[in-house]
Amino acid sequence: MSESKSEPLFSKKNKALITNPLNKNNPVTIQVLGICSALAVTVQMDNAIVMSVAVTAVLVLGNMIVSLMRNVIPSKIRIIVQLVIVAGLVIIVDQVLKAYVYDVSKKLSVFVGLIITNCIIMGRLEAFALGNKPWASILDGVGNGFGYGLVLIIVSFFKELFGSGALTIPGFEKFEIFKAIGIYDMGYMDNGLMLLPPSSLFIVGIYIWVQKYRNPDLIES
C-alpha cells in the first residue's frame, strides 16, 4: 500500500505499537482480554509456546486482511465478516497443526478453536485494523501477539517448574531441571496444585500485582 511510504517502517510511533502491549498496555493483564486460552493451555511450556505462535499468526494475518479490506467491508455485517476471516484463519491453523505437529494439536484440542473467540483478536480487529493502514496493523498484531505470549510463557514457566519440576521447550528434550539440581533429594515434592486450573489464576493475579507495583500509573482507583 502506498500510504505507508511517507514514514519509515520502524518509526517511533510504529515501535511503540510493538513495545506497548508488552508491558503497560498488555492485552492479558491490563486490557483483560483473551484470558480463556491464556490460562487453560499453560500446564506445559511447549503448549503455551505453540499457542502463542498460533495466536500471533492469526492476529497478524487477521489484522492485515481486515486492514486491507477496511474500505470495502459493509458496515452492517462488519462483525460477521471479521468472525468469518478469523474463523477461516483458525481452521487453517488447526489443519496445519493436525498435519505437522500432531502431538501438540492433540493437547491443545478445543482451545485452538477458541482462538476464534479470543477477545484479543476481535478486539484488535475492531479497534485497530479497521481504522489503520496495513503495516501499522501488522505491527500491532505482532505486538499484541507477543504481549499475549509473554504472559502465557511466564505463567506456564511457573506452573510447569513447580508442578512437574521440569520444562518442556519445543524441539528439545524435556528438561528435568529439579531432578538435575537435586532438589528432590532435599525433600521437595512436586506441587500438584500448580497443575490444577486455579493456580493459573493465582499466578496471573500475582503477575498483575508485581506489574502494577512497579508501574503505579496502572493502578485502578
Binding site: 467491508i73 459493509p74 477461516g88 489443519q95 484440542s109 490444577l196
Partner: protein, 450 residues
C-alpha cells in the same frame, strides 16, 4: 468509492463472494492436508499397538516408523463380539481397508463405548446381570485382537476403553496366554488432569502391569489399582497419587474389557495351543502325587508330612525343600511372633528367636520365594484390620530384609480378618486368628516341573 457500502445489494454481493472465497480456500487446505492427518492418526494407532507388545524391537517406536513396522510384526487381526465369537479374521496379507468397519484395525473402541456401551450401562445402572445380557445381545459392540509373532513367540494385543475423571481413556494390553500374564501395556487419555491423571501415559505406570496376571484358579481375576505405597500381589498395581478417580476409571475399564477377552481365550483353546511363549509359569496341579522332573531323577513333591507345630515343620521344610514344588502348598502359621496391641511394632523380646530362625532358614533356602501373610481377628473395622494386617506383614518383612534376606524374595500380604482359622466368638479363637503365616510361593529348583 462510488459504491454505497450500506446498500443491501452491496452487502449481499459482498457476503456471497466472501463465502465462496473462504469456503473454497478452506476446502482446498483441508483436502490438501487430509492425507497427512489421516496418516498421523493411523500411525499413532499402530504405534500404540506396537508399544503395547513389550518387546525390545517395538519399544519406543516413533510414529513415523510405526506404519512400516506394523505389518512386519502383526500377523493376524481378529475381531470378536462381546460373547467372544469371531466376526472378522484377517492376516497381514490382507491390506487394511479403511471402509471395512469390521477389520480389527478399524474398530473404534472409544466410539463404540460412548455410543453403545455407555447407554446400556446407564439404563441398567447397577444391575450387572441385565447389563451383561444387553451387551451380549448387541451386535454393535466389537473388540479387536492383534496377534504379533516374534522370535517364535506369539503375543496377543487387546484393546480397552473407558472413562477417566474428565473424559475418555483407552489403552492396549499385550497378554501371554500361558498363565494369562500381561506382557506389556500402553494407555492414553483425552483430557485427564495434566501432571496427575495424565501420568497413566508414563512408563513407570504402564510397566507395572507387566507380569501381572488376569487369572486366579482358572477364573477371571481383574487387575486392581491400589493406593500407592501398599504391598501388591500379582493382580494389583500402584495407582497415581492425587489421581484416584483416573485410577478407578482405569480399573473399571480393564475389568470390563479384559473379561471379554478372557472369555474368548477360554472358548478358543486353539489359540493357546500353537506357538506358546517360553514357559514362565510355576503352576502345579496341586495334588499329592510324586512326579518326575523331566531333566533329572529327583522326585518332587507338592506337600510334606507336616505336623502343625511350627518349629518342627520348618525343620522338615529345610531338609526337603529341594524337592518341594511351590504352588498351593501349605502355609505355616509362624508361632512366636508377637506385636504390640493394635500396632505393627514387633515385640522384640519374645519374637527375636523365631524371626532369626526364619532368617537362617531363608539363607539356606536361597532358591525359594515366600509370601508373608498377616491375619487379624474380627474386632474392629474391616478397613482398619486390613491395614493393620498389611503393616504387620510388612514389619516382619522389614525385619527379614534388615537381616540380610533379599527383598525381592519376600512378598508381604495383608488378609485382614478374611481367613480365620478359629472361632472369633471366643478369646482363644481370636488369639489364634491373630497370626502371621509364611508360605512358599516360588521354588526355582522345581519351577520347571509341570
Amino acid at each position: 468509492m462510488a459504491v454505497n457500502r450500506d446498500s443491501n445489494v452491496y452487502t449481499i454481493i459482498f457476503a456471497t463472494i466472501m463465502v465462496v472465497i473462504v469456503g473454497g480456500l478452506l476446502a482446498f487446505v483441508s483436502m490438501g492436508l487430509k492425507p497427512l492427518q489421516s496418516a498421523n492418526i493411523s500411525n499413532e494407532k499402530m504405534q500404540n499397538i506396537l508399544q503395547a507388545i513389550g518387546i525390545e524391537e517395538t519399544d519406543g517406536v516413533s510414529r513415523e516408523d510405526a506404519g512400516k513396522m506394523f505389518n512386519e510384526f502383526i500377523k493376524r487381526r481378529i475381531t470378536i463380539n462381546y460373547n467372544g465369537e469371531i466376526v472378522s479374521d484377517k492376516t497381514s496379507e490382507d491390506a487394511i481397508d479403511p471402509t471395512d468397519k469390521l477389520d480389527a484395525f478399524n474398530i473404534n473402541l472409544r466410539k463404540e463405548y460412548s455410543k453403545y456401551v455407555k447407554p446400556i450401562m446407564n439404563k441398567n445402572k447397577g444391575d450387572v446381570a441385565k447389563i451383561e445380557e444387553a451387551l451380549g445381545n448387541s451386535s454393535d459392540i466389537h473388540f479387536p485382537i492383534f496377534i504379533c509373532e516374534h522370535n517364535g513367540g506369539k503375543y496377543y494385543i487387546v484393546a480397552a476403553s473407558g472413562k477417566g475423571l474428565w473424559d475418555d481413556i483407552w489403552g492396549y494390553l499385550c497378554v501371554e496366554l500361558k498363565g494369562m500374564k500381561v506382557h506389556g501395556s500402553v494407555f492414553d487419555h483425552k483430557g485427564e488432569t495434566p501432571g496427575l491423571g495424565s501420568k497413566i501415559t508414563e512408563d513407570w505406570f504402564q510397566d507395572q502391569f507387566v507380569g501381572k496376571t488376569i487369572e486366579e484358579n482358572d477364573e477371571y481375576a481383574p487387575i486392581k489399582i491400589k493406593k500407592p505405597g501398599n504391598e501388591l500381589n500379582n493382580h494389583q498395581v500402584d495407582g497415581i497419587s492425587g489421581a484416584t478417580f483416573t485410577g478407578v476409571g482405569v480399573e473399571e475399564m480393564l475389568k470390563r474389557n479384559l473379561n471379554v477377552y478372557y472369555r474368548f481365550f477360554k472358548n478358543h483353546p486353539e489359540f493357546a495351543g500353537n506357538g506358546s511363549n517360553e514357559d514362565t509359569s510355576s503352576n502345579t496341579n496341586g495334588t499329592d502325587v510324586l512326579t518326575n522332573k523331566n531333566d533329572s531323577n529327583i522326585s518332587v513333591v507338592s506337600s510334606l508330612p507336616f505336623t502343625g507345630v511350627f518349629a518342627e515343620d520348618f525343620e522338615l521344610l529345610l531338609q526337603n525343600y529341594q524337592n518341594l514344588v511351590a504352588g498351593d502348598n501349605k502355609s505355616f502359621i509362624i508361632e512366636g511372633i508377637k506385636f504390640s496391641a493394635g500396632s505393627s511394632n514387633i515385640n522384640v523380646k519374645s519374637s527375636t528367636e523365631t524371626l532369626n530362625r526364619i532368617v537362617e532358614g531363608l539363607k539356606v533356602m536361597t532358591d525359594v520365594e515366600v509370601e508373608l501373610g498377616g491375619h487379624t481377628d474380627n474386632m474392629g473395622e474391616e478397613a482398619a484390620l486390613q491395614t493393620l494386617s498389611e503393616s504387620r506383614a510388612n514389619a516382619v518383612k522389614a525385619y527379614l530384609v534388615e537381616n540380610g534376606i533379599e527383598e525381592s524374595r519376600i512378598q508381604a500380604v495383608g488378609y485382614g480378618s478374611t481367613v480365620p482359622v478359629a472361632d472369633n466368638e471366643t478369646q482363644e479363637g481370636r488369639d489364634a486368628n491373630k497370626r502371621t503365616e509364611i508360605k512358599i510361593i516360588k521354588n526355582n529348583l522345581t519351577a520347571n516341573v509341570n
